[in-house]
Amino acid sequence: MKETRGKIFGVAGPTVMVKGMTGAIMNTVCLVGRHGLLGEIIRIKEDMVTLQVYEDTVGISVGEDVISYGIPLSVTLGPGLLTGLFDGIQRPLDKIRETAGGFLTRGVKVEALDLDRTWDFTPIRKKGDTVAPGDVLGTIEETERITHRVMVPPGLGGVIKEIKSGKVSGAEYICMLERGKFIELYQEWPVRRPRPFKAKLPPEEPFITGQRVFDTLLPVAEGGTAIVPGGFGTGKTVVEQTIAKFSRSDIVVYVGCGERGNEMSEILSDFPKLKDPTSGLPLSLRTVIVVNTSNMPVAAREASIFTGITIAEYFRDMGYSVAMLADSISRWAEALREISSRLEEMPGEEGFPPYLATQLGMFYERSGKVMCLGSEDRTGSVTVISAVSPPGGDFSEPVTQASLRFAGTLWALDPDLAYRRHFPAVNWLASFSLFHAELDDWFGREVAEDMVRLRGRLYSLLQRQTELKDIIQIIGVEALQESDRLALEVANLATDAFLKQSAFSEVDAFNTYEKQYWMLKTIFAYLESAEAALKRGVFIETILDSPVKGRLARMKEEPNEGFSGKARALIGEVESEFSMLEEK
């Protein structure tokens, strides 16, 4: 490996300039100064390089030594990632706590994964087989929930001369190929390089979140990208956490990027206890957490989303559907800006570097559903859901705008809804999903043949609600036509009973598509019966006073199991109650 050495010339915030580094390679890591802090080369100008340093630079002096071995910033991939908690450059925070105590001191050196831990390896390939990159050599039960598929890393392949079975560890190879090539249990992968696959596949299935407003109105496809912009307190983190808990994905990679420590402590204490609705096993068994809180070094925050997405791709390559949750991408962009301004680069809009959108694109484009590398036809996916934190809640700012270019789904959060505690505070009319056309087939096939039509009706009803609310502002509710008053009432009912969903209610937090469908069915059955009664000449007041509405408002409190039966019964009640209402 190529070694370059230099001496520190300058220190400014998280960046360090080093002289004498002729021959250094861009984006490779360095050990900086007497504490041996980790840094990455982000600019080269003749023999002067600039590093972003992943630890606090206080105390660093001019003249201290810097060494680079020419290795890019990489993560370690292999068994032991699941249930793990890492900082932005994959340092294991649990182990650091064991050695350093409650606070993060500098220069602590701990391996990302425990390479000495033994695992039970079951080979599925044997001596004499020819293997290619991506082929599964064998499996390890990494957690009760997830089988780790040990794959031939990209760039290797050939005839197997020896393959281990039973207890294996990172200490020695797991498979020997002809010509003295070895495959180990752990591999290093540069975080800034996307992992290869055979082909990208078009979206055709929704990424199921269990949240009505998302799944029904604003779906994101498996392998797609959704962004969640919103001012502070509008519910971004709760959206991310709810999806981490309830989404139908095999693996969740949660990146807490420049956000709060206490939020992470909540996840850390809850996830081992909460059950994943699909398997009934603790959520932590399918989860990897990368966290670089707002007060941790800013350069490591910049790296955190790349660390996260590389881990996500690794599980995708095994054939899993992975949810990559980033809270918040704006903090990443600000880290980029902070470092760029120390480099005295020419700033673009709002001080962000001109390459902001390019870099963001490089991150978002790593989402997708793919045909994995390897001779089997495995598919895997990475769905990216990222929170965006626009300053002042103003979506016209650069990070929101750049993210919008890459997002297939926009869940726009609205402070007005949050103030009145309507959660998820998604502004349904300002949001969009570009996946409707691609997913409609699936909805018709897997949910119900009239699901797409019901969604369309819900949209129109909500549209009408907005118009009517504007009219009321001018003439008052009493002046509305009766049919409009009814439409408004039912729209309000749909808003409260259907769109509003508490992330903290045990029963309501996760809804199957079946429940979502039957809730819609019930609401529209109500609308139709009420319209019929109105036509028959029943007073609008009588209709609005009918007690069955209260039962509709509470139907979300019924569990998923057996919901369709309850809904059918409720529809029956609605019909009979309205048919009995007396005319004027």
């Binding site: 220190v11 925070l93 001012g231 300053p391 505690r421 009493e478």
Partner: protein, 450 residues
Amino acid sequence: MALDLIKRQYRTLQTISGPLIFVDRMKGGSLGEMCVVDLPEGERRTGQVLQLMGERAVIQVLEGTSGIDSEASSVLPTGETAKVGVSMDLFGRVLNGFGEPIDGLPPIVPDEYKEINGLPMNPAAREKPDFFVQTGISAIDGLNTLVRGQKLPIFSGAGLPAKELALQIVRQARVAEAEEFAVILGAMGITSRESFFFRRSLEETGALERTIAFINQVNDPTIERLFTPRIALTVAEYLAFERGFHVMVVLTDMTSYCESLREIGSAREEIPGRRSYPGYMYTDLATLYERAGRLKGGKGSVTLMPILTMPDDDITHPIPDLTGYITEGQIVLSRALHRKGIYPPIDVLPCLSRLMNLGIGAGKTRDGHRTIADQLYSAYARGIDVRRLVTIVGEEGLSDLDRRYLAFSDEFERRFVGQGREDRSIDETLDLGIELLNTVPEREAVARRR
């Protein structure tokens, strides 16, 4: 090599700009290092290295640069980073923003010195905050509950009674907390009147022997303001995590702090961010606010209540905006309520406590607390909508139901929010909430009947 150890005095001041001096040919200085600045007349000041580029150091002078010259003044690096001496003897003392006594009492002999920047708490070592703190304020306890280890700021406007509210909270929470309770005040850029008010009020609460006050006044050096909250929080961490105290830290006014930050930024000729505040202000504020919390296996806690003044009452201004993005909620004061004579003038709609759910419910406050809070919120939000409507369509355009909500929101503001100086138990708060909810029709408040 040995030469490096002998600290040299540098007489190579090159440029003086605002609070900064630029020193040339300074060998071996390190980032964050403290320096002694000697003025020609024999005066000594303190400097801190902000940036190093080759042999040129950028140094901020804490007391300001007025009187410094480029010929006779000199700089001596001390080899130390910024530290504060901590000790239990700090209780009852009043100090300046650098941690030096200003109460005329003898100097403090510290047990040890701590770096004022502190270290980030390992997320793996954080204890989830879930212990309810009764502040005695209904709008907080009932609707935006505070828990130990939380950072919950007060967003105020010029002339609104934020300091009164903060002190009322400190006083009332102290009663409920009883045990190892400590109060730390970090005041930045306050007037001598405010300073006097704080001291007197703390005396009145009888909390003085449990209080440590760091006070930087308007006429004190601006750079001192950048040190004040760090020193206050360092002492707080010491008391909480090494001595087991439940420490409540009140920082006021974060707006002055941010202005000092901006001043340094522009003196360094940095590219400014939004409204000319530095681009790194989020990170900088986070390194303060995130110091609140609890440690696994530890006994104490740091609860943080920063007060800030929203310039122009604008909640989207970078100071409240970045604060709200970091803290675990916010208590927002309203000028409209204040004008109506409602105290505390808490505008509950934009308020939030993100940790509320962890601190309420059976065994903590009361079963059903969440439901009561949610319903008060939606009823009040609806009442406010109606109030807006009235201004356009008049009372005649309202339905009967609307009128009831209108009445509800008035009563809610007057009785629930406007409690005055009363110290309410959580039960009194929740009972009053239910009483008010009973004035809106059953049919609407659906979930309440569960």
